[in-house]
């Protein structure tokens, strides 16, 4: 089974323990790159000191308010940036890559003064890449590189997974899964791709066990739950 992600590396033989240390997350290999799915929902590529996050949806509450919808609590930007800040500090990332839908729409990139300063401080001294998503399909007035997609070594980073791609890291779908209780956001990992959970605070989710996500993932795919007990389990089959 040469194509299977390196699951055994994550689980030393004989222990049977699938509880993953909160710091390290769930380690696996994709096209030869060793990656960690962190409990926060971020992906860590240690060899490149790269932190990837999917679907921040910054400015979601203010976009809804702007469109005449309800006035949701306007604290999700602080909530999301706070977690990103903690992940960057913990990992010491030299590159941060946001996998698209970083803003709920292009106008949402006009964050308030405080939040723009916070983001600028996070960007300082490291490479920062904005991949375009369907919600933010164009450059925003913020520093950093704005790209449609990015090939880096054996991996390709883009917003929406493409059928047949290999070594692909993407977001877009907001996968979630239920295990022994309410659903939690999860990573989906198979031999050719990893799909990241949404990182933003006010984001819904899509059941990973149903189409289109279940169709997109190959046999032997695993889901890796975020949260206090990050753990890996098979995506398909009885539960």
């Amino acid at each position: 089974m040469p194509d299977r992600p390196g699951l055994r590396a994550a689980f030393p033989s004989g222990t049977g323990a699938h509880r993953i240390a909160a710091m390290n997350g769930h380690r696996f290999t994709l096209s030869g790159a060793t990656l960690s799915a962190l409990p926060s929902g971020a992906l860590w590529w240690g060899d490149r000191a790269l932190l990837a996050v999917g679907d921040l949806h910054l400015g979601r509450s203010s976009r809804i308010a702007r469109l005449g919808g309800t006035l949701l609590p306007p604290y999700e930007v602080a909530e999301t940036l706070g977690r990103l800040d903690a992940d960057i500090a913990r990992t010491g990332a030299r590159t941060v890559l946001c996998l698209g839908d970083s803003f709920d729409d292009l106008a949402s990139a006009d964050l308030g003064e405080d939040h723009r300063l916070w983001l600028t401080r996070l960007m300082a001294g490291r490479r920062w890449i904005w991949i375009e998503g369907n919600h933010d399909p164009g450059p925003v007035a913020l520093p950093g590189e704005h790209l449609r997609d990015l090939a880096l070594g054996p991996l390709t980073f883009r917003h929406i997974a493409q059928p047949g791609a290999r070594g692909e890291v993407s977001g877009h779908y907001h996968p979630k899964m239920r295990v022994a209780g309410p659903a939690r956001p999860c990573f989906l990992i198979d031999a050719s791709r990893v799909i990241l959970p949404a990182y933003g605070a006010y984001t819904g989710g899509m059941d990973a066990t149903r189409p289109p996500l279940s169709d997109l993932m190959g046999p032997g795919a695993i889901a890796c739950l975020t949260g206090p007990t990050p753990c890996a389990l098979p995506l398909k089959g009885p539960r």
Binding site: F11, R66, G69, T70, P73, P74, Y75, A180, I222, P234
Partner: protein
């Protein structure tokens, strides 16, 4: 004495009827600005309410709307229209009567707005919607009387609070509007009068003759009730025998799921093919209407039903009411019994069918209470502010308003008569800007002040506000349809959570038939008929009543008796067995049992404090257990006990129940739990923070659950003083939390706590294992289980 027009006298005498004294009294006091009639079920309440209107409209001089009739049920509005139309047609009165509910067609509703009938029959929600239109002053011009039917039921809910706000608005539009409330027998009529009155004016109360005492007993069965469980299936042969012996029987159940299961098995046992129907709130309108029509024609010998038949639909010839399951509340029982013999001054006949041994005790206690005329009721607090927020938004849809005027209007409504101005202003602020500490939305306010008046910033948002009117926030329901070539017959609705648990091929019961789940399409559950006999049962969110304080006191007093000659032998034996292997709970002691079962350690606390307080006790105690590393997994609460299960045994429960320790931190940690989140979700929907319905699309309930949980957590972290959090706390402390009752219980028992360690489930604890509404504890135990589940699945899949 005020005389009826001659046509009425003729009509009454042709039918051999006489005007009842209370009907005459209603005519005599027709000019009263506010009037409450308290009459037993079947006392001709509705006609008493309408007679003054019919008399005033008889000369054909009135133009436009004269009387607005509001009932809590759509079906009731339609039923009253039919019943009123008969005398109006027979007396050839020039009166147009129409109903208007969520089921009324769009065309008809448009026409009603343009040309209102003399008498309009509607629901609180439809009235709120009418009041949100810009042309409300024109629609209601000339309105003279408003009749609130079943006000005793409405006064217990937010629907009633909203209705009273609507009446305050109507009184402003029509200053001479007279209010009439029609109530079943209640323990505190003065409280309902205060609820209905236009403050500070009083409301007069009229009492009809309560009629003879009911003929009520427990059903005797050959087979004793089961040790545990619900539904009363064991009693089917005896119940069928009673159905045979009576003209028409109503068989009440406390939940929809139980009604479904019972009906299914009743039908299997119905060898004579007696015509029996089923009626509950989850059935499709078509299905309900078929049963209602058959019932009115006298074509049915029995109807299996739930609270959807609690309220005054006239079912004609009902001569027996059977209550399956404990009545929980004596007042409701008396009202249900009144459905039998819907004739004045004839005793109603009723049978109680306890579904299990514990309910035998409860039924016996209820019988004693009915005989003693000992009605129960819990006073309600002031009008909730989430309903007020919705009312403010509705007001803004209708027209720009002045804050002082609206405050004066709102405080004329009974439930809001004590509202303080700062509380009102906080609600207005919430509607306008979201009311956040961080004033982020000044640019995109929902309401704006222009020239001293408040109005919608974007008039288009009126559509979304109108789509979300109402205070009923049941679990999200999905329609169920038969999948076939013709597009599919609608069968009813199931909870979204239940639908999500189905996989194709699963079978469940709905409308008395077994169906097979085929798939989900466009938010509709598609099913096919299945001839199987063992369905997976639909988990409907049937209303769960909580046993009243009075009834619990009676139960505890019964436990203290040395023997129980009134109780059937099987139940007396069961209580004796409990006394033998453990103890019986008493009024001045607290019994706690520990035992292993199903591979988990269990702790059962018999607090008899009512469902909500027992639920809170579960939350508090599991939290203490979590702190002590006892790995609680979850709990379930009933009116009389809380059952907690976990991975480790509890050595001494007394340490968990120290009142000071329980109270400490209640406010801080209680906020994070599921009960508070559920309360917040309902409040957020009512106050308009979350829209359940969006123009052009429908958000699925589960998504709404997800986001309100996150919103709740975010608000709590960043804006703990927010209005909706305050409302959530207030409502939970009063309703779902009910901490006062825990404190009272602990105070009463003092240090008289008996913690018994037993080897297996006790007779009294057994029923708790079958209770729905289990609350998971989000703690170390869940994390451990997740890890274990993941490990097992990985191993099974050969991936580890």
């Amino acid at each position: 004495m005020r005389a009826l027009p001659p046509a009425f006298d003729d009509w009454f005498s042709r039918r051999g009827w006489q005007v009842h004294p209370h009907q005459q009294a209603m005519l005599d006091r027709a000019g009263a600005p506010a009037l409450l009639l308290v009459a037993p079920t079947g006392g001709g309440k509705t006609l008493a309410g309408f007679l003054p209107s019919l008399a005033e409209l008889a000369d054909g001089a009135h133009r436009g709307l004269h009387t607005l009739y509001i009932s809590p049920l759509k079906a009731l509005a339609a039923d009253i229209r039919r019943n009123l139309t008969t005398p109006v047609t027979e007396m050839d009165l020039p009166i147009r009567i129409e109903d208007r509910t969520g089921d009324t067609s769009h065309t008809k509703r448009q026409r009603q707005r343009a040309d209102p009938p003399h008498i309009l029959l509607t629901t609180p929600e439809s009235l709120a919607l009418l009041l949100s239109y810009e042309d409300a002053p024109r629609i209601f011009a000339g309105l003279s009387r408003v009749i609130v039917d079943e006000i005793h039921a409405l006064s217990e809910s937010k629907r009633g609070d909203q209705l009273m706000l609507c009446l305050s608005r109507l009184s402003r539009l029509c200053p001479n509007l007279r209010r009439v409330g029609l109530s079943a027998t209640v323990e505190d009529p003065a409280a309902i009068a205060r609820f209905l009155a236009r403050h500070p004016d009083p409301c007069e109360v009229l009492h009809a003759d309560p009629g003879p005492d009911p003929d009520i007993a427990m059903l005797q069965t050959d087979e004793p009730p089961p040790w545990a469980g619900g539904g009363g299936r064991y009693a089917i042969p005896a119940i069928l025998e009673e159905v045979r012996r009576h003209r028409t029987t109503l068989i009440f159940h406390n939940t929809r799921a139980q009604a479904e299961i019972f009906f299914h098995h009743l039908w299997l046992a119905n060898e004579d093919g007696l015509p029996i129907g089923i009626h509950h709130g989850s059935l499709s309108r078509e299905a309900r209407e078929r049963v209602e029509a058959a019932m009115v024609q006298g074509a049915l010998r029995a109807v299996v039903c739930t609270g959807s038949l609690d309220l005054g639909i006239d079912w004609g010839d009902v001569d027996l009411v059977i209550q399956v399951g404990a009545p929980k509340n004596v007042k409701r029982l008396v009202q249900r019994i009144g459905r039998a013999n819907h004739r004045y001054n004839a005793p109603s006949k009723a049978l109680l069918v306890p579904a299990n041994r514990f309910e035998v005790v409860e039924c016996q206690a209820a019988l004693r209470a009915v005989r003693d005329h000992d009605l129960d009721g819990e006073p309600r607090g002031p009008g909730p502010r989430d309903v007020l927020c919705q009312h403010i938004l509705i007001a803004a849809c209708a027209a720009p308003f002045d804050a002082d005027d609206l405050f004066a209007e709102v405080t004329s409504a009974g439930p809001y008569s004590g509202l303080a101005r700062p509380d009102f202003d906080a609600c207005l602020e919430f509607c306008a800007t979201g009311g956040y500490a961080l004033r982020a939305y000044d640019r995109w306010q929902r309401l704006m002040r222009r020239g001293g008046l408040w109005s919608l910033r974007d008039p288009r948002s009126a559509r979304a506000i109108r789509m979300n009117i109402g205070t009923i926030t049941d679990a999200e329901l999905l329609k169920v349809r038969l999948r076939n070539r013709l597009g599919g017959q609608p069968l009813g609705e199931v909870e979204e959570g239940f639908a999500a648990s189905l996989t194709p091929g699963d079978t469940f019961l709905i409308g008395g038939q077994i169906v097979r789940y085929e798939g989900l399409r466009d938010l509709t559950v598609e099913v096919s008929r299945d001839p199987g006999r063992d369905p997976k049962v639909a988990v409907f969110s049937g209303t769960k009543f909580s046993t009243s304080t009075r009834l619990t006191e009676r139960i505890l007093a019964m436990f203290g008796e040395a023997t129980w000659p009134d109780l059937p032998g099987h139940t007396a034996d069961w209580l004796a067995l409990q006394r033998q292997v453990s103890r019986l709970p008493g009024a001045d002691r607290l019994l706690i049992e520990s035992f292993p079962a199903d591979g988990r350690e269990h702790l059962c606390i018999y607090g008899f404090a009512g469902r909500n307080a027992q639920q809170t006790l579960g939350l508090l105690v599991t939290r203490r257990m979590e702190d002590l590393g006892l790995h609680p997994l979850g709990f379930v609460a009933t009116d009389y006990a809380t059952l907690i299960w976990g991975l480790d045994p509890v050595p001494d429960a007394r340490t968990l129940l120290d009142p000071a320790a329980l109270a400490e931190g209640l406010d801080t940690w209680l906020q994070g739990n599921a009960v508070m989140k559920r309360t917040f979700r309902n409040i957020a929907q009512i106050a308009g923070l979350i829209e359940r319905n969006h123009p052009g699309q429908r958000k699925s309930g589960r998504q709404a659950t997800f986001s309100t949980d996150i919103l709740y957590d975010t608000l709590r972290r960043h804006d703990p003083g927010h209005l909706l959090l305050a409302v959530t706390r207030e409502e939970a402390m009063r309703g779902l939390v009910d901490f006062a009752r825990i404190a009272a219980m602990l105070d009463r028992v003092g240090d008289r706590i008996d913690h018994l360690h037993l080897t297996r489930v006790t007779p009294l604890a057994a029923p708790l294992f079958l209770e729905h509404g289990k609350v998971p504890v989000e703690g170390a135990a869940r994390e451990r289980l997740i890890a274990e589940t993941a490990a097992r699945l990985m191993a099974e899949a050969g991936l580890a």
